[in-house]
């Protein structure tokens, strides 16, 4: 027995009848309390999805259809489980404004009229299919006096023939009358039974014809439904949630579920989103609410400087090797990985090459135009032009140093005869 609270399920076959019974019990209780059938996780073997998928469709199939007389306690209950009236009611609410406009009634709303119509309807248990649409929710089943099993076949066949002929006349079908008299003849108190039978038949015929034909106020279910318009309230989420409760009825539950949700994508999703966005204004916020909005605060250099100063003051001892390496990298002791040959030369990348190569223009000022000094400096410039590892500023500084040096040593140069052009 796997109902001891253990998680593992022995086998699906073994489980099903046992906790199907448990589920039935729970469904009974919940139905009696006018609630949705709730499956508690305390029940055994619910954890395994196999069991759930196997058992729950059975349960719900048993609970939902109203033809199952054992479980259906009333028409209202059945409809609640099936979840049809809630969307129907929303439709009615949408139409009751419009229905009232289209056909004015004597003070009653369209919803009330429809409910009254449905309530007055009675089930006609016949094998023959009527041309007109019959009631959706069955009313209390009319019980006929069951004849004895001996005469069953003949009387049933007589009844069938009688009803098959049609009942659009006010008077009873003569075949029906003959069948009733035949049935009554089989019983001991024949005449009384016959009269009672005929009374019942007349009543039933009257009701059926009133329901099938035109009513006094000219409104039938068919007319009402034909006049109804599908109201688009734009609540796809709500309907999707309601539809989700019916999922377990079908075997293709997953597909339908996904389709109903629409997975939030595609044209359906867009339509849903648009329908959600376009709606009646609630007027909760006034229009001036967003105008005083403060611009998003941006970090200034001062803030960054403060943050750096705080970090430097609270420089914690590195807890591990990684933090130590991070610290060294920030100090500049450790190179940044992956190794970049031009690590500190980001600005130099933007300097054009001709400034690196053509440096003779720096020799125009401060240097003699002829002589050994100029010769020397041209060689220096040639060497610098071939040097890709130094920045342009450094090259310029190099040349400037020589300028200053030769200016300082002018007297020695002139004494040696180097400055004579």
């Amino acid at each position: 027995m796997c109902c001891d609270g253990c998680v593992t399920c022995v086998s699906a076959r073994h489980c099903r009848p046992l906790y199907a019974f448990a589920m039935y019990r729970r469904v009974f209780l919940s139905l009696s309390h006018f609630q949705q059938p709730v499956v508690f996780p305390q029940d055994a073997c619910i954890y395994s999805p196999k069991c759930i998928s196997a058992a729950t469709p059975r349960i719900f199939r048993a609970a939902a259809p109203c033809g199952y007389r054992g479980l259906s306690t009333g028409s209202v209950l059945c409809s609640e489980i099936k979840d049809e009236p809630p969307p129907l009611k929303t439709k009615e609410k949408a139409q009751e404004e419009r229905a009232e406009e289209t056909s004015p009634q004597t003070g009653r709303s369209g919803k009330e009229k429809l409910l009254a119509l449905l309530g007055d309807m009675k089930v006609q248990v016949t094998t023959k299919r009527r041309a007109r649409p019959m009631a959706a929710a069955p009313g209390p089943v009319q019980k006929r006096p069951e004849p004895r099993p001996g005469e069953m076949e003949s009387t049933i066949s007589m009844f069938q023939e009688a009803t098959a002929a049609g009942g659009k006349r006010d008077t009873l079908n003569p075949a029906l009358v003959a069948a009733a008299s035949a049935a009554a003849a089989s019983l001991p108190d024949g005449s009384r039974v016959e009269s009672e039978l005929l009374q019942q038949l007349r009543k039933h015929e009257a009701v059926v014809q009133a329901q099938a034909g035109q009513r006094a106020d000219g409104r039938t279910l068919g007319n009402i439904i034909a006049n109804m318009k599908v109201g688009r309230r734009g609540h796809p989420n709500q309907q999707g949630a309601r539809r989700a409760l019916d999922d377990d009825e079908d075997d293709g539950a997953a597909q339908r579920h996904a389709q109903a949700r629409g997975v939030g994508g595609g044209p359906d999703g867009e339509r849903k989103r648009r329908s959600q966005l376009t709606g009646k204004r609630l007027n909760i916020f006034s229009k001036t609410a967003g105008q005083d909005a403060v611009a998003a605060p941006t970090l200034t250099l001062w803030d960054l400087e403060l943050a750096n100063a705080i970090a430097a003051a609270v420089k914690a001892v590195p807890r591990n090797g990684f933090e130590e390496m991070i610290q060294w990298t920030k100090e500049g002791k450790l190179w940044r990985y992956p190794i970049d040959n031009e690590a500190g030369l980001e600005e130099e990348a933007h300097v054009p090459f001709h400034e690196h190569v053509f440096l003779e223009r720096h020799l125009e000022d401060g240097f003699p135009k002829r002589g050994p000094v100029r010769h020397f400096m041209e060689l220096v410039v040639l060497g610098l032009a071939k040097n890709p590892y130094v920045t342009v500023n450094q090259k310029v500084q190099h040349i400037a140093w020589f300028r200053d040096y030769f200016r300082a040593k002018e007297d020695i140069l002139s004494e040696a005869g180097a400055l004579q052009n």
Partner: protein
Amino acid sequence: MATSLTALGSIHHTTAFRSPVCAVEQVRGYYVNWKMLRDVKRRKMAFEYADERLRINALRKNTILPKELQEVADKEIADLPRDSCPVRIRNRCVMTSRPRGVKKKWRLSRIVFRHLSDHNQMSGIQRAMW
């Protein structure tokens, strides 16, 4: 990244070294011995004077400029501090400050190198066997 005209690499900066801003501190650091510390000082100074030494040497070591200028340049370079010349730098072992038997690539003396590689601390080093 420090840039210089010479081929000198970046010199290690230690927390124990005297900074030019603050007052004289006690030289108490994490170097193996004083020789290592002196070597570190030389390296720093060599880095500082590298550009100047290069330029003055360029004046000295050519045949174009007059010799008078070159003699003056000789005097100038000799007046520079002794520790500024890179020749005084000794590639010591980083761990033990051993002046000899140091492999330049790893900056370690042969004994330390063997010790670490035997304990699998050296990446890509394997005992030779052929």
